[in-house]
């Protein structure tokens, strides 16, 4: 896709981010930058610390070391303040407000960009009505953008899986972020849905929001990203263009293991997958 477009402004700058849980170092000294108008991919085997790194970026975890800055300002370690600053995220295991409607979900995303407090709600001031109308308009715009406008009054839990993923993106976009963090946006999707998500991410980028995306679907990542970083056992192994990463032997080794006598059979592969799933569970 687009080649290495290096823009002058850095949106996200993570330096030496380290996260330790007791004796376990989940993320060790990772540096990562995301520039304006860029889509950056973060890949790595299960349990490599990708989601932990995301949680450090968004203030859900307080990193043991290192700091994260957004457009030159150091981000605080409070989740809602990070969002207010302009970094929005989605979750690996979908975390929608299941019993709210589609529209309400997106309206919640508008929270940081509106100010109407309890008093104006109780007194129904003209400002309140205006702000509500504006929020709703913006939310509907985003629903049109993600193709969910027809389902505005459906409960989020009743959406099909693929649309739940889309709604999560719409909800994150509602806070008008400068950087969008997507945690496995195509997990569990079929090829058509994956392609649709890919188009959606490009459209988001074209609207001027930088994107950092974790994904396992290599085709998706290599089609989408301007730059890819590989995280293995909590440390950054390689960073570069999709082509560079794809051809790097260490990446192949990290994913498939170093070659040994005799190709791995189906049984072993299943075993590995199982083990990986377990580590993934621990990671959460």
């Amino acid at each position: 896709m687009t080649s290495d477009t290096i823009t002058s402004t850095t949106v996200l700058d993570a330096r030496g981010v380290t996260m330790r849980f007791g004796g376990l170092t989940a993320v060790g000294g990772v540096d990562l930058t995301v520039n304006e108008g860029e889509i950056v991919g973060l890949i790595g085997p299960n349990g490599a610390g990708k989601t932990t790194f995301f949680n450090c970026l968004t203030g859900l975890y307080i990193p043991s070391e290192g700091q994260v800055s957004y457009k030159g300002k150091v981000l605080p370690h409070r989740s809602h303040l990070v969002t207010q600053a302009g970094v929005a995220r989605t979750f690996q295991n979908i975390r929608l407000f299941a019993n709210m409607t589609v529209l309400e979900n997106v309206l919640v995303g508008r929270h940081t960009r509106t100010k109407e407090g309890l008093w104006s709600a109780l007194l129904r001031t003209p400002g309140f009505k205006k702000a509500e109308r504006a929020s709703e308009e913006r939310a509907m715009e985003l629903l049109e953008f993600t193709g969910l406008a027809a389902k505005r009054d459906t409960l989020a839990r009743n959406l099909p899986y693929g649309e739940q993923r889309k709604l999560e993106i719409a909800r994150a976009l509602a806070s008008d972020p400068g950087l969008l963090l997507l945690d496995e946006p195509t997990a569990g999707m079929n090829p058509q849905e994956t392609r649709a998500t890919q188009d959606l991410v490009f459209a988001v980028r074209d609207q001027g929001t930088a994107v950092l995306v974790i994904e396992h679907d290599m085709r998706f990542i290599f089609n989408l990203c301007d730059r890819v970083a590989v995280l293995v056992q909590g440390e950054k192994l390689v960073e570069g263009t999709p082509a560079q990463v794809q051809s790097d032997e260490r990446v192949v080794a990290a994913y498939l293991g170093t070659p040994f006598e005799g190709a791995p059979g189906a049984d072993e592969a299943a075993e590995v997958a199982q083990a990986e799933q377990r580590t993934e569970g621990d990671d959460q």
Binding site: S79, A88, F91, N99, L107, H111, A121, E132, L155, A172
Partner: protein
């Protein structure tokens, strides 16, 4: 149908020879006491049966199922009648005390149920898999189809319908509050079955979609029909019950902000009612109050509200850092701390502020604009006693609190509360300062309870620490408040109001069962949670949550819009 007429006729006969049984069922030719309930039941069954047979002009009664609703009503009539007959036999010692009318009624109501069972079911039986066994068949007959789209009426007619529904509500409530213990049981049985019947007939859904459409009209109509209540009473006996219900219900609405919207399980909520009541008692010039000041009422209300809010923040700030079950335990503790604290601020173990276990009696009656709330007044030819005055005053506060609930619910703040309830982590990732908003919900809830408390102090002539326990046979207490919210329907407006009215009336009317009250209450709560987990009044969200499949794999009928029922 003949059976329905027979039941109807039997209510005009004498059921027993003696007037020892309450309600005087001895007169032939005029129904009295519990007979009225059987009468109403049979008339309603008859109407639904006729509607089921397609009689013109009655079709509107049953947009949903007709047989199932008629069956429900028939069952209700049957249960009420048999209950009455059994009660007569039990109380007077033997079946010999029944006059022929009683037997006629019993047999006729049984026939009624049997004949309705003979009618074709609303939902056709599945040809390939007919339900096996009598019980399954019976259950099947009770199922009702969804009502079709409503007939388009001019809006004034719809508004009129809303008002009529409020009028029916007032009549039912007035009857219930005036019923004696035996009559009240019959009343509960019949209303329960009638409500189930109306629900199956699709009438409930019609009414709730109308009230949804004309929310303001419905609220105003409800307010006015509630305001009419004291005018239907000729003594203060039941208005005193009504004002207590109103206070209890208002506090339940306040608790609904905390539990229903923000999802914070608060088990010590009654403490805030206590803070408001104590504050009002202290500043209203009671002779035994430690502070020798007498504020005008509006100032007392404001003081009560502000002090409650401060307590809400003080208690909320440390406790809201824990989530879920832990929050429930901590608030339970704080609720008890309040009561024990009030008991000990008596000058011996602490500063003399509350007279300890004696409470602060003798809070004077309110006087506003020359209107003495303690005396009877004659307005438009109706005499309004002391409690009727307070009832009307409290109704104003209820209206304000209901408005606060509604407006905060449908706003940015309300959405943030629901988001926190749904998933706190995701909510804060959406930029919501969860702690601050939870504290806001807690403080708002405390303030609303405090306002209700200031009125309570005047109505009950004083305050006493034992009035604010966690659990007690008499509401309001924290357990009953929470039960009212859950029983009525979390997050809804009318739910806690209905729940509170039921939870107040039932213990009040059934005092002869005092020893078993809490046991029965527990059983009822368990049954309700098993069969209707969303509460009596389901809000739109809850209803979809419990009743709809998680993911729509097959297309559902007609889209999701007709399921809106939150009132």
């Amino acid at each position: 149908m003949g059976a329905a007429v027979a039941t109807f006729a039997s209510t005009f006969l004498a059921w027993t020879w003696t007037d020892e049984f309450p309600g005087n069922l001895t007169v032939t030719g005029y129904p009295g006491g519990l007979q009225v309930l059987t009468l109403v039941g049979s008339v309603l069954t008859l109407l639904f049966l006729l509607a089921g047979l397609g009689v013109r002009g009655l079709r509107w009664l049953t947009p949903g199922g007709s047989t199932s609703s008629a069956l429900m009503l028939a069952l209700g009539t049957f249960a009420t009648t048999w209950y009455t007959v059994a009660a007569i036999a039990w109380q007077l010692g033997g079946l010999a005390n029944l006059e022929p009318g009683g037997f006629v009624a019993a047999v006729a109501s049984l026939l009624l149920v049997l004949s309705v069972l003979g009618l074709p079911a609303d939902m056709p039986f599945d040809e390939e898999h007919p339900p096996a066994g009598v019980l399954a068949r019976f259950r099947h007959v009770l199922k009702a189809p969804e009502p079709g789209p409503a007939m388009v009426l001019p809006s004034w007619a719809e508004v009129l319908l809303v008002c009529a529904a409020c009028g029916v509500g007032l009549t039912v409530f007035t009857y219930g509050i005036g019923a004696e213990a035996e009559g009240f049981v019959g009343f509960l049985i019949l209303t329960g079955f009638a409500a189930a019947g109306a629900y199956r007939a699709g009438l409930m859904r019609r009414v709730s979609s109308l009230t949804h459409k004309y929310r303001n009209v419905a609220l105003t109509a409800a307010f006015f029909s509630a305001a009419l209540f004291p005018f239907t009473q000729d003594s203060d006996a039941y208005t005193s019950v009504a004002v207590s219900i109103l206070i209890f219900a208002t506090v339940a609405v306040g608790l609904n902000v905390v539990v229903g919207l923000a999802g914070l399980l608060d088990l010590g909520y009654v403490a805030f009612l206590g803070v408001g009541a104590y504050t009002a008692a202290l500043v209203s010039g009671a002779p035994t109050a430690a502070l020798g000041v007498q504020f005008p009422f509006w100032a007392a209300v404001l003081t009560g509200a502000v002090v409650s809010m401060i307590f809400g923040v003080i208690i909320g700030a440390p406790t809201l850092r824990v989530r879920g079950d832990y929050l429930a335990i901590v608030t339970l503790g704080f609720g008890e701390i309040f009561r024990i604290g009030m008991q000990n601020l008596d000058g011996q173990s602490g500063p003399d502020l509350t007279n300890g276990p004696n409470g602060i009696p003798g809070v004077p009656d309110l006087k506003m604009f020359g209107f003495d709330f303690g005396e009877s007044h004659t307005i438009l030819g109706f005499e309004l006693g002391r409690f009727a005055n307070y009832y009307l005053l409290m109704l104003l506060f209820t209206a304000v609190i209901v408005m606060v609930f509604r407006r905060s619910d449908s706003s940015r703040i309300g959405r943030a509360w629901v988001a926190i309830r749904e998933d706190e982590t995701a909510a804060s990732a959406m930029g919501i300062n969860a702690f601050r908003l939870k504290l806001l919900a807690f403080a708002l809830g405390a303030t609303l309870a405090g306002v209700a408390g200031t009125v309570l102090a005047h109505v009950e002539y004083g305050v006493h620490p034992d009035g604010y326990k966690f659990v007690h046979a008499v509401p309001p207490n924290s357990a009953f408040l929470l039960a009212a919210v859950i029983l009525g329907g979390m997050g809804t407006l009318s739910g806690p109001l209905i729940g509170a009215a039921l939870l107040y009336l039932i213990p009040n009317k059934l005092q002869f069962m005092a020893d078993y009250q809490l046991l029965l209450f527990g059983i009822a709560l368990v049954l309700l949670m098993r069969f209707r987990p969303e509460g009596l009044v389901a809000d739109r969200r809850k209803q979809m949550e419990f009743k709809e499949p998680d993911q729509v794999d097959a297309p559902t009928h007609g889209g999701g819009l007709d399921t809106k029922t939150g009132v």
